[in-house]
């Protein structure tokens, strides 16, 4: 009987959350007749008219090709790669149909290729941009600071396709870092030329449900777009399985920047956000434990 009461209470809670997730809004463009213009980067942003994505600034396009996963090959030389020594990262991209090399790309957020590097212990974070060589490959020289596993996320947009977000793994030989374990850290962060605060709604993020993340920056003036967006976020789960790349859901150059994130699993996530103020890029890091519903 006790179990049944608990089950009933859980059902009511689920129903309440589902209702809370579904506030009434105006009819969406997709429900209207005619062409729908879609943002290639944020496919949930749509309009009945051509224009720019309000979230990331990319041009909306009429319809989109079917989302197909391209093949990203990453080669690291010299072999073996050594910690503390320069390594050449070469990214080669092939189409999924005939494995032909792809050499034409669309610019996304001012760049042809965005690369995120996260180390196994989540201490290392890098967001940078390999350059397109005459061989059609993207190249980047990087010094892996320590041994262990690195997850490298490639974000690019082959011409005539859909934007791609593909993770690769590199293992730098040597002792593996200690297993990571971190607790909630929402404390304000003093970065290059600002302080970044974080508030989430709900205060305790639940896996599988939307979390609104409000970043408040001080001083509130002087904020600029960085790579064509008011902010960039990368969230990585403690086990490095989930890598989430987001741009602000609501931002206007004011001191509050809102990201909406669905954390997939009940894990702890390390979140890096980047904002630009007066020509300086600021990177702040927060730790967000995520629980399962009812946990």
């Amino acid at each position: 009987m006790m179990g049944m009461k608990f089950g009933f209470a859980t059902l009511l809670l689920v129903a309440g959350i589902l209702r809370a997730q579904n506030p009434p809004i105006a009819p969406l463009p997709s429900q209207n007749a005619g062409t729908v213009y879609i943002c290639p980067m944020d496919p949930d942003v749509r309009s009945s008219n051509p224009g720019k994505c309000a979230r990331c600034g990319m041009s909306l396009v009429a319809g989109l090709p079917d989302p197909v996963e391209y093949h990203l090959h990453l080669d690291v030389t010299p072999k073996p790669v050594k910690p503390g020594q320069p390594a050449n990262l070469t990214f080669e991209i092939h189409d999924p149909w005939k494995e032909r090399q792809v050499t034409k790309f669309q610019i996304v957020h001012e760049k042809l290729f965005h690369m995120f590097v996260v180390s196994q212990d989540l201490q290392v974070f890098l967001h940078n941009h390999p350059t397109l060589g005459s061989d059609g490959d993207f190249h980047y020289e990087y010094v892996f600071p320590k041994s262990g596993l690195y997850r490298i996320l490639g974000d690019f947009y082959p011409d005539g396709a859909t934007p791609q977000l593909i993770a690769k793994s590199v293992i730098v030989p040597g002792p593996a870092p200690k297993p990571v374990s971190f607790t909630r850290d929402y404390s304000p962060k003093d970065t290059e030329n600002m302080t970044v605060e974080l508030v989430t709604d709900p205060p305790q993020p639940i896996s599988g449900f939307k979390t609104q993340m409000y970043f408040r920056v001080k001083p509130g003036e002087g904020l600029e777009k960085y790579l064509d967006a008011w902010g960039h976020m990368l969230a990585a789960s403690e086990d490095l399985i989930d890598m989430i790349h987001e741009h602000p859901f609501i931002a206007d150059g004011g001191p509050q920047i809102q990201f909406n994130v669905v954390f997939p699993r009940a894990k702890s996530y390390r979140v890096w956000v980047q904002f630009q103020r007066k020509g300086v890029v600021n990177t702040a890091r927060f730790d967000v434990p995520v629980k399962a519903l009812g946990q």
Binding site: N22, V36, D44, S207, V262
Partner: protein, 241 residues
């Protein structure tokens, strides 16, 4: 007890009906445009009439499962690929991409709209997508014996092993694997270390091979490590033509 069960069922049915009646559409993602394409390329090879699992071929089939679908895909329990994307590169990869996960989540949370008929791909195209799935003809659930059937020279290994002769590796097939998450790597004689396969919540009931996009040359002296005690993994050599 029977009365309690009946009461619980009535409450659940009433709530489901109420939820359906009050679902407000807050997403532009629709079954006809995005979700059907994902399902036919990743789910319907098994979830179809006459397939290994209940059908998800039509909107009316999928709608009642919308919440469970979101949970299953975010937890990576479905599709039952059982490996982490981007650790090894596989030509029969059935895991969902980040974009597909985002679309499915948005659709599930946003009222799961059907959309408009004009956006639904023609039946022929949907069938083509289904048949192109790596699992349409072969697994998952084909069983560990698939290795022996398809790769006559499959090599069973347990624990860390050092190769005594070179091997051109075409893929791996877990035979018996404990629950959990573990990374199988190749440590080459020259000191480099390459990721091969990161199993995560792999289920034997959905046993299937992981076929590399390009064969990996493993020289003699290479150590295959990361296979936990008690587990057996088949190394699948490239088949000579």
């Amino acid at each position: 007890m029977k009365r309690s069960l009946f009461f619980t069922c009535v409450v659940m049915m009433t709530m489901c009906a109420a939820a359906q009646a009050h679902d407000v559409i807050t997403t532009p993602v629709t079954w006809d445009r995005e979700i059907s394409r994902i399902f036919y390329s990743r789910c319907v090879a098994c979830h179809r009439d006459g397939g290994a699992a209940f059908s998800l071929m039509e909107y009316k089939d999928a709608f009642p499962w919308r919440t469970a679908i979101k949970e299953e895909v975010l937890e990576r329990r479905m599709p039952p690929w059982g490996a982490v994307k981007g650790f090894g590169d596989f030509r029969n990869d059935q895991a969902l991409t980040p974009e597909q996960l985002e679309l499915l989540t948005s659709w599930s949370q946003g009222g799961s709209p059907e959309g408009e008929d004009k956006d639904l791909p023609p039946k022929d195209k949907l069938n083509e997508m289904m048949q192109e799935s790596a699992w349409f003809h072969d697994g998952p659930g084909d069983g560990p014996d698939a290795a022996e059937r398809h790769h006559s020279a499959a090599v069973a290994v347990s624990g860390d092993v050092k190769l005594v002769k070179p091997l051109t590796l075409d893929g791996l097939l877990p035979k018996s694997v404990p629950a959990g998450s573990f990374q199988i790597i190749a440590e080459f004689p020259d000191g480099r270390v390459e990721p091969l396969l990161w199993l995560d919540d792999y289920k034997e009931q959905f046993a299937h091979p992981f076929l590399l996009r390009s064969p990996v040359e493993l020289p003699a002296g290479t150590v295959i490590s990361g296979i936990p005690p008690g587990a057996t993994i088949f190394l699948l050599p490239e088949e000579k033509k």
